[in-house]
Structure formats: C-alpha cells, structure tokens
C-alpha cells in the first residue's frame, strides 16, 4: 500500500478530485498549506526586494492506494494539476505498513 501526497495550487483542487474519482479513488484528506520551492515564492514578474522568500498558499492532498495503482494516480494528479507555470507543486509516494478502518476494524486492502 502507498500514501500518495500532493501539494498543488488551491484552485486546481476540484480538477484533481474529478480526475481521482474517475480512477475509482473515493477517499482523500485535504489540508491547507503554504510553501515555496526554488523560485522562493516569487512570481515571474516580481517587483519586490530580491532577498525576500514568500510563502504562497497551497493545498495538500493525501490518498491511500494499492501499490499497483500508485502510478496511475500520480499521472492523473499531474495531468489535472499542471498549469505549466511556477508553483505547480510536487507529488510523492511513501510506503505504508498497515491501514485500519476505524468503524469496522478492516485492515489493509479492505481498508483502502
């Protein structure tokens, strides 16, 4: 099992959700986040002082998936979230040891 985490631009959240629905991924956790990458949060046309690093609002999305599906999920997220502009974000995958559904106690594959 894998945890797929994505940090994306906030206005792209709905697009990503639809894309994941189409893949059959029905659950996710969404949190508000802020961050920056190599560009220090500056836009292409940045007027302010050079030495400032700006935190830009983002959305963080987390989905638990079967290992076999993780590639497809990554591809879907990227396709939906990409704008080609600075600040599109990143997606990464971490292994998960076990998952349990709280209400029923189902584990692992049944809990996904």
């Amino acid at each position: 099992m894998k945890l797929v985490t994505a940090v994306i631009k906030p206005f792209k959240l709905d697009d990503v959700r639809s894309a994941l629905e189409k893949l059959g991924v029905h659950g996710m956790t969404v949190t508000e986040a802020s961050g920056y990458g190599r560009q220090r949060g500056h836009t292409e046309v940045y007027r302010g002082a050079e030495y400032v690093v700006d935190l830009v609002p983002k959305v963080r999305l987390e989905v638990l998936v079967d290992t076999a599906e993780s590639e497809a999920v990554i591809t879907a997220i990227i396709a939906a979230a990409q704008t080609g502009k600075i600040g599109d974000g990143k997606v990464w995958v971490t292994p998960v040891e076990s998952v349990v559904r709280v209400r029923t106690g189902e584990r692992d594959a049944e809990a996904l």
């Binding site: 560009q39 500056h42 292409e44 940045y46 007027r47 002082a49 050079e50 600075i86």
Partner: protein
C-alpha cells in the same frame, strides 16, 4: 553552472561570471525575438561584482520601460534558468520602481550599487545606475547612520571572523558583508576607504568561500571545523591552522578598515553639520593639542607632531602608542603607516625609556587593545618584538577561548591594568600578562616553552636578572593556581606546600593571583566564575599564610547538625540551609550508612535530575558517611527539593535503578558529528597527598560520567575520601582522593595501577 578545474582566484571567478553573462545574453536575445529596445538584463550584487563562486546564485534584474508584454519576455528568460536547476534571484522593474525600492530597502540598494549591464538596452541600465548613485549620494548624510546600525547589529549576532572557531565568511565582522558595506560608503563619496589592504583580503576571502562551496557541494558560508582541513588542502595550504591564521589576518584587516572608515565618516558628517552651524569659523584648521613629545591630538585621534621624525627616534612609536592609549584615543591611520615604514628593532637591551613606554601602553587598559591591534596589523609589533610573530593571528583550538593567542595576550594585559593596585610591581604584572602564552605555537607544553622564551626575551627588553626570574616564574606557573584550586584538596597541607614552593614569596603570589584573574577574564565567560574565583582566593589565602609563617586555617568541615544526623544512622538528605546557596550552586548534604558505591549512586541521581556536580567531600563518622555536594542545574531552575530527596533515598535503598536510567538516556542521545573526541585518560598523580592516592580523570563530559566512575571505583574496593569535579567547555576533569576500603591507607603502586586500569575500562 559550469564547474571548472581552474585554480582558485579572480580569474576563475571572472570566467564563471563571463559564462553566466553569455548565457543570459543568449536567453534575452531569444526571449525578445530581435527587439530588445526598452529591456535590459542587469547583474546586481555579487554577480554584478563578478564574484561568482561555486555555490553562487544569479542576482538579476530585468529592467524595462514597456507598458505591456513584459511578462512573456520574463517567462522566456526565467524558465530555462529554473529548469536547468540554477539558483536565480530575480526581479522585474521599471527604472522608477527600482529607484523607489532602492530608496526604501537598504539591502536592495547595496545590491544595486554594484549593477552591471549584461545585455539589451544599455541606455536603460545607465539611466538607472546614475539615478541610484545620485540618490545615494544626496541621501548619504541621513542613510549612512542607518547602514552603520544594521552593520553593527549584524556584527553583534555573528561574532568576529578573526576569532570565531567556525566563522561565517559572509556575515561575521570582518567578512564579505562588511566589504560590501565599505563599497557602499566609498560610493557615497563621503569618505575614502583604505584600498591597498582591502584588495588582497577580499580576494582571499572569496577564494576560501569558493573552496568551501566546492568541498561541501553546498552554498553554505559557515566554515565548520570538520571542513577546515579539506578547504585548506583545496587551496593548497599546509593545514587547517594555516587557513585559519590567514583568515584571522583577513578578518582583522577588514574589521580595522571598517573602523577607520566609519571614523572618517563621523568626522565628515560632523564637519558638515558644524560647518552649517558655525559659518564664522569655517576655514580654520582643526586644533592640535600636545599629548607627549612628538605626539599631538587632533580630531579625536593621536597624530605625529609636524616636526616628529620616527626614523631618527626609534622609541617614538612606543611613546606615541602609550600616549594615545593613556588618552583613550586611537592612532590615526596615517601615523600608523609612517611607523610601519620606519619601524626598526631597538638596541638590545632596550633603553629604560622604551620599556617604560611599553608598560605605560599596557597600563592604559582597554584603549591599549585598539592601539596595539593597529600597530600589530601594520607589522610594527613583530618588528619590535620578533618573538611575537609566532603567536600573531594564531588560532586557539579550544572552544573555551574567545580570541586568537595574540589578542588574548593583549586582552589579558589590558585586564591586568585594573588590578595593578594589588601588586608591588605593576610593570612585571603587565609584561607577564603580555607574555604568558608566548610559548603557544611551539611543540611541547606551552608554559615550559614560554618560560624558555621569556628567559631569553626579558633580558633583551632590559629587565635586570631578579625581574627576569619573576617573569619566568609567572609564565611557567601561570596555570598553577586555577589547576590546583579546582583539582586538588585545599585542606591537604601538601597541596599548599607545593604552591608555596613554586611561588617563593608573598609578592610573587600576589602577582600570580592577579595574572590568573586577568588571564581568565581574557579567555572566555566560563573561565572566571564566582565559584572559581572563590576557590582560588581560598588557595591564595592559605598559601600566603604558609609563606608568611602563620598557621594554615583549617576548613570548618561538617557542622554539628550534620554530625548529629550521621550518628542517628539514618538516610537523610538535607538541601540548602543557611549559607547553602552559594554563587555557583546549591549545597546538598547526604547522610547515610557508609557502603561501597555511595558516591556513585548519589551522583547518578543528580545525573538523572540533570544537576551538574561541582564538588563533593565525604567524611565517615562511625559507620555513617556524610557527603556534602555542590550542585547546579544544567538547564533552567533546580528540581523540587522533595522530589530530589525522595529519589536519593530510594536510590540508596535500592528501589530506584539510576544506572539503568542513565544508560537509557545516553543511548537515546543523538551525538553531534564533528569534533573528534580524544579518548579518556586516567592517571595517578604522584606526590599530591600524604594521606591518600590521587586519581585524575579527564574525559569528554556526558550524562552519568560521575556515576560510572564512582561505580568502577566501588567495584575496585577503594573508598573515596573526597572528589573535585570541573567542566571546561565539554571536557570534564574529575579528581578523586582514594584510600583502601579495608585499611583506610593510600594505595600502593601496584594497586593504584590496577585501579586506574579498571576505571579506564569502565569509561570506554
């Protein structure tokens, strides 16, 4: 960015900049699709100065006068750079916008002062450059104080390049940011910056930064200890010491230039306001008041008199330095330069006047440091005292020291100036302080080596034979008092005897005491705490009594209340009490039935509660042991007395396993990588006591160390009569007075060796 195999130096940096320029010009041409009117790419900051090093980022400004369409052009320039993984610090502005940012943001202004046209409409760049410079010059009177404030603030939080163990090449005082500040002052046309010395210093600093980035593969500017050897090798230097020495020189040169420059700025700004106010007196030359023969005071500095000739008067340099320091003034840079050009060795032995001026200089206290520093940087001091060369800019490897060796010596002498009332011979005190570490940098024990040097140097300075003997004594024994006071039992008459024999007379004792204090204050904050001061004062008092023939006062030992507790045969812990909170700790008295491992167990409890142990003394009354500890909290406030008491009681009756707790904590601590720690050493100190065997343990401080040692000693069947514990930085020095558990006598040689070995084993 291209990484070349070229040797370090300005050529390499220029080559990197040129490569970047070519790339950016190409990008602009592609982005503008042939029409680059109204756009310019400008390099600013370090890139503008062509100071590209391995980890630099590109500092670029896209200047434009277009109303629309600039965003697309910007995209086509920035994206290729980002996509290539090159670090970019960019902005997009019109001339007016850039001007406004420069007026508001000092940091942005400093970057723009170094702007350089890369590609595009050169007229635009020139327009911005002239505007920004003109604005800076007209606002200089108001903005220079702001610049100075921010520089001072930065210095305060980042320490000095010359003296830090792990300096930040950019932010420390004497580092790259200070050099940028100097350029800004130069550009303001308010004051001139001494160029001759700055140039080589600047180049050296950039080379080191380049090598550091190459060696670490990152763009960090902090020259950490573990990289110093690698950086030295990368630059082709002999070793880390050579590197740090060269950096110390650079740091001091830049710091000194910064000081002079700001003094000049002050003078000019003061004149500007003065001239505005007192129009009638404009045009008169500044007044010059005499300070000494050949030296006058002018505009807040000490300057050579018009008819003074240092070439014909070799003592003039010392006289001028002494006069300046005594008046609390700095020497003017011009005067320093004249001395540098004309300095020569004095006839040996030195004439008395020369020696007197040296003593007057040192006796001035704090102002002497700046004066000495100025002359030392110019090489004058090494000419006058050739032995000074070895300690000049020499780094100390011990984290307890704040300064390089030479600065430490001068600081010690300056500190001693306040203590001259305590001694019969102030001159010997001041010179002794100046030379006490002169043996550092030569192989061997620096006290012994220093004594050899002083035995040769002092007569050359003109001191008569009896004075030479005193100076040699001061140098060879300059660590005697602190070592003895913190590591030996002051109640043991043998200890006092050793010190009295070394010192010889009461006058010498006073000199050594004052030197010890001056030395410690010049070392660092940890070296002269009230605890240490009290211990040393107590030692001095006892030694004075021996030297003047009066009987040695015996310490009161345990109070009647404590003895009463012991006779009851009960475990009792008493924290505090009248007079119990001393300057450096709380006194905890533990009374319990005597048994092996008592010291180790209680030390373990203190370790669990994160209390550092300063000292411990035990006394056995009938079958009860009374141990008096002085402890201090390592973090924050001391733990609750009741909790501490309860834990000690439980540990002693066996229900609390302190050993296990300490092991767990040690296992979970993540050790910082970095300094290689030498292995622990345990030695038997011969001749230190007649009634016990003295073991001295030196090890890297860690939680539970005392507990481990105590456990090992208990297992070896020895009884600990008293213990003295000190921590210097991260190194612990623990001394134990031990006797055989069954007989109560000192250990014989074979047994002592066996015990030593078993303690050493326990420490690994």
């Amino acid at each position: 960015m291209l990484s070349r195999g070229e040797p370090y130096g300005a050529a390499r940096r220029t080559a990197l900049s040129d490569a970047a320029d070519a790339w950016l010009a190409h990008l602009l041409a592609a982005a503008a699709a042939g029409d680059d009117s109204g756009i310019a790419l400008v390099a600013i900051g370090g890139y503008g100065r062509r100071e590209m090093v391995a980890g630099s980022d590109l500092d670029v400004l896209l200047l434009h006068s277009r109303k629309r369409g600039i965003a697309e052009v910007a995209d086509r320039i920035w994206y290729p750079i980002w996509d290539d993984g090159v670090k970019l610090d960019h902005s997009v502005r019109t001339v007016a916008e850039a001007r406004s940012v420069a007026a508001d943001d000092l940091k942005a202004l400093l970057g723009m002062l170094d702007m350089r046209h890369i590609a595009g409409d050169v007229g635009l760049t020139e327009q911005l450059r002239s505007t920004v410079l003109a604005d800076w010059r007209s606002a200089a009177t108001n903005r220079l104080p702001e610049l100075r404030e921010s520089a001072l603030e930065r210095d305060r939080s980042n320490g000095e390049l010359a003296f830090l163990l792990e300096p930040d090449l950019k932010e420390s005082r004497g580092g790259l940011r200070d050099l940028v500040t100097l350029r800004a002052v130069q550009a303001s046309w308010v004051a001139d910056v001494p160029h001759a010395r700055i140039g080589p210093a600047h180049d050296r600093l950039l080379d080191v930064r380049d090598a550091l980035h190459t060696v670490t593969g990152r763009s960090t500017d902090r020259l950490v200890l573990q990289e110093q050897e690698n950086v030295a090798k990368e630059l082709g230097l002999l070793d880390a010491i050579a590197l740090m020495r060269s950096l110390a020189e650079v740091g001091r040169t830049v710091a000194y230039a910064t000081d002079i420059t700001w003094r000049r700025v002050d003078q000019v700004l003061e004149t500007r306001t003065r001239r505005f106010r007192l129009r009638g007196t404009a045009g008169k030359p500044a007044p010059r008041t005499p300070l000494a023969d050949g030296v006058v005071q002018s505009e807040g500095e000490a300057v050579l008199a018009r008819d003074a000739d240092p070439a014909r008067d070799p003592i003039l340099v010392l006289r001028a330095a002494a006069a300046a320091a005594q008046a609390g003034l700095p020497l003017s840079p011009g005067t320093v330069d004249r001395f540098a050009a004309t300095a020569k060795r004095l006839p040996e032995p030195w004439p008395e006047a020369a020696r007197e001026e040296l003593v007057r200089l040192l006796g001035a206290g704090r102002p002497a440091v700046a004066v000495w520093e100025a002359l030392d940087l110019a090489g004058v001091m090494t000419t006058l005292i050739p032995d000074w060369a070895r300690v000049s800019c020499r780094p100390q490897r011990n984290a307890v020291h704040r300064f390089t060796v030479d600065r430490h010596l001068v600081e010690a002498a300056a500190n001693a100036a306040a203590l001259t009332r305590r001694v019969a011979r102030p001159d010997l005190l001041l010179v002794g302080c100046l030379l006490h570490d002169i043996g550092k940098g030569w192989p061997g024990d620096h006290s012994t080596v220093g004594a050899t040097i002083v035995r040769d140097l002092a007569p050359r300075l003109g001191f008569p034979e009896p004075d030479v003997e005193v100076l040699v004594m001061l140098v060879i024994h300059h660590l005697l008092l602190p070592d003895t006071a913190t590591r030996r039992d002051l109640d043991d008459p043998r200890t006092i005897e050793l010190v009295a024999n070394a010192v010889g007379t009461v006058e010498n004792l006073d000199l050594l005491h004052a030197l010890t204090e001056a030395d410690a204050l010049a070392t660092g904050e940890a070296a002269w705490t009230p605890w240490r001061a009290n211990l040393i004062a107590s030692l001095v008092e006892k030694t004075r009594a021996v030297l003047s023939g009066t009987p040695v006062p015996v310490s009161p030992g345990l109070t009647e209340a404590q003895r009463a507790l012991a006779r009851k045969g009960v475990i009792d812990v008493h924290i505090g009490g009248p007079g119990a909170r001393t300057a450096e700790g709380t006194i905890v008295t533990v009374v319990s039935p005597d048994r092996a491992g008592l010291l180790a167990t209680v030390a373990g409890v203190f370790g669990v509660h994160r209390l550092g142990v300063r000292s411990a003394v035990t006394e056995t009354i009938d079958s009860a042991a009374v141990t008096v500890w002085t402890v201090h909290p390592e973090f924050g406030s001391p733990p609750d007395a009741a909790v501490l008491r309860g834990d000690i009681v439980r540990a002693l009756d066996g229900s609390l396993d302190v050993g296990a707790k300490l092991e767990r904590r040690a296992a979970s601590q993540v050790l910082r990588p970095g300094i290689e720690v030498p292995p622990p050493s345990v030695s038997v100190v011969p001749d230190a006591s007649e009634s016990a065997t003295v073991l001295e343990i030196r090890a890297h401080d860690r939680p539970g160390l005392l507990h481990r040692v105590g456990t090992a000693l208990a297992a070896a069947k020895v009884d600990i009569r008293s213990a003295k514990v000190s921590t210097w930085g991260a190194e612990a020095v623990d001394v134990f007075y031990v006797v055989e558990l069954d007989t109560g006598l000192p250990l014989d040689e074979a047994r002592a060796t066996a015990v030593r070995d078993s303690v050493l084993e326990a420490l690994d």
